[in-house]
Amino acid sequence: MMKLYKRYVDVLTLHDRYGNLIPKVMIWDNGMEYPIDRVLEIRKSASQVGGCGILYRCRIAGVERNLFLERTRWFIESAKP
């Protein structure tokens, strides 16, 4: 299995009129913005890189990644350290 790293990231979100919270853009340390193509699944989950929260399974730039809302901040199970 690929080794994954816990990386806290900035996320731009849409809080829609029905009360849903949808991550739209993830911003990496260097300022690079990665649009989130699609949210595939939302559920509570523990993460293999530590911590737990609400898992947003997303497709980002064509690849599937797990984005977590951990209490008040977001982290990603990143392939890059």
């Binding site: 559920r43 509570k44 989950s45 523990a46 293999q48 890189v49 530590g50 911590g51 737990c52 209490r71």
Partner: protein, 414 residues
Amino acid sequence: MQERVILHSDINHCYAQIEEMRHPELRKIPMAVGGHEEARHGIILAKNDMAKAYHIKTGESLREAYAKCPQLKIIHPDYEAYMYYTEQVKDIYRAYTDKVESFGLDEAWIDLTQSISLFGSGKAIAQEIQKRVWQEIGLSVSIGVSYNKIFAKLGSDMQKPMGLVEIRKDNYQTLVWPLPVEDLFYVGRATKKKLRYYGIDTIGDLANLSKGWMKDHFGKMGELIWWFANGEDISEVALSGAKEPVKSVGNAITAPRDINTFEEAKIIYYVLVESVASRMRDSGLRGNVISISLRNKELSWFSRQRKIMQATNIAQEIMLVVLQLLKENYTFEQPLRTIGVSVSGIEDDQALTQLNLFTSEEERQRQKQLEISIDQIRNRFGFAKVRRCVTLLTPDLSEFNPKEEHVIHPVSFF
């Protein structure tokens, strides 16, 4: 009555496991959650399995722990996080019933009697809870399933981690009775010693005695533990959010250094008593039984109490009794490490009072008003803005605000 279905769920070495969940790399090294060595709250609160292999014990000092395992990693406790994550776990329990009674942060009883027709048997729900807590929060819980609270709790202690033990009416004699008698609720050090004296070693030994004999030799509590041993515990699982009426208000502190003299103890007691009195006034309560508890360097506890004529929440009055008790009961041959005070015999502060011929009620009210004013000043400008001169003598002992820096106390079963 329909046979009840009660779960007792226990988050396995709770604080340590939450730290491991947040930081998985800690699973690979011996680790324990413990207090700050410098501030002398230096004890192990929880440890992981690798630390357990070094025979690290909960409650021992950091120094003892390092002696057994020099590479032990100590994590300072993050109570706010522990409260958050344990609440998340309890939210999962509450998805199955409204009867979830917490017992400390890490344990809870769950009454599923009314839920089994909706969600399946007690054991099935227990398995589902375990699976969900593991997948959603990343924590393992051990669960005991039984028809009363006492056996459910014994069941959750039997297998760890992620244990699941069902204690039924047809198997409790094989599962529960061989256990040592001190595993039972309300069998403490003293009772255990006395039971051993009579040759009662296991819960089964106790259960097979006659109820009358237990009552004669151990009083009302003896009868109670006899019922427990026979699975006849009928206490209810409280509804979620149900609050017990307050039975006592107290505060204890482990001083940053040893307390060597009566004068030093007195200084700390001023701070503690003021906080207890202030908390009672905040909740509109007063009490007429004042007790002090002391623990020396050898970590042996004892407490003494005294009943007073008029229930009070005036610090000055409580302090008088505290000093009497301290003077009569401790000689300071050994330095003290932890001291505490609590007030029980609680009643409403607005209740009618039998006036005392020999004290001036006017004077009492004036004193109370003074203390309320001090509370108000402290609330507005900070705790240290008004303080007793005596606390300036030894700032290293008295610079703490017990009212805000609150300690989480273990709760009692009743």
